[in-house]
Symmetry: C2
Subunit: 147 residues, 2 copies
């Protein structure tokens, strides 16, 4: 195994570590979120909207780093679940304004226990989790200047 081979080894790739770890974390959420009848992507979309709603698809996409190709069907699903509303902006009909419904706001109360459940499952000291999260956010900001 020479240097050239080391270069392409899976375990040496930053990308694979991220890719694998991200999916493993998402898997931990699945059983917990199924109690809220949400997928992982629906969950982080609701997180963004609980923080700030009355936003456009574009705003939301900038926040989640997702485009309309992903968001449009996802938001239609959340609308069908009566968690959000999708209305055209009267002042500019190009914009679609997304708002959390009363039912959607109630779900937030149920979601409050999700982070604790996750944390318990991961069984990793909170300081360690926060440290790595901060480092990843720092890396992300270098990759995505607008974040």
């Amino acid at each position: 195994m020479n240097d050239k081979d080391e270069l392409l080894k899976l375990e040496n790739q930053l990308c694979f570590a991220f890719y694998a770890c991200s999916r493993e974390i998402t898997k931990l959420y699945r059983p917990i979120l199924s109690e809220l009848d949400l997928t992982y992507t629906q969950y982080i979309t609701m997180l963004a909207l609980w923080e700030k709603d009355g936003v456009t698809v574009k705003d939301l996409g900038a926040r989640l780093l997702l485009d309309s190709g992903t968001l449009t069907p996802l938001l239609k699903k959340l609308e069908a679940m009566q968690l959000i509303t999708r209305d055209r902006d009267k002042a500019d009909e190009r914009n679609l304004v997304i708002r959390v419904t009363e039912h959607g706001a109630q779900l937030k109360e149920k979601a409050m226990c999700v982070p604790a459940q996750l944390s318990q499952q991961m069984n990793i000291p909170i300081e360690e989790v926060n440290s790595i999260r901060d480092q990843i956010q720092d890396l992300l900001s270098k990759l995505e200047p607008t974040v």
Copy 2:
């Protein structure tokens, strides 16, 4: 904004940091890998096979943390591209043995420059990259005991 709200803020979620960063890194690969006519998942699959081939779908899946539902169509694609072969194990017909073809081995030479190209695009000190990669691998090993 009280403590309860902090709990569900997007920026406080480890999962979102991973999810967003993983996708941003994958995006960096896209233009580079398009020169090899590979998608990102096809690329990491080839990385695993260049390291060790003659393995079953199950072996490969354990390595990449992917199941046959994802791998079967992906491997059929790579076979159609003549980068790999898919043959039943004569000793146990349940097993499908994956091997890299001559053409697939040639592609490895072209792939050699991918990590350097990526590194240049990311423009982040190698020590920093290695440090965060090691921390993520450590986290992954705690989440996925068999890795």
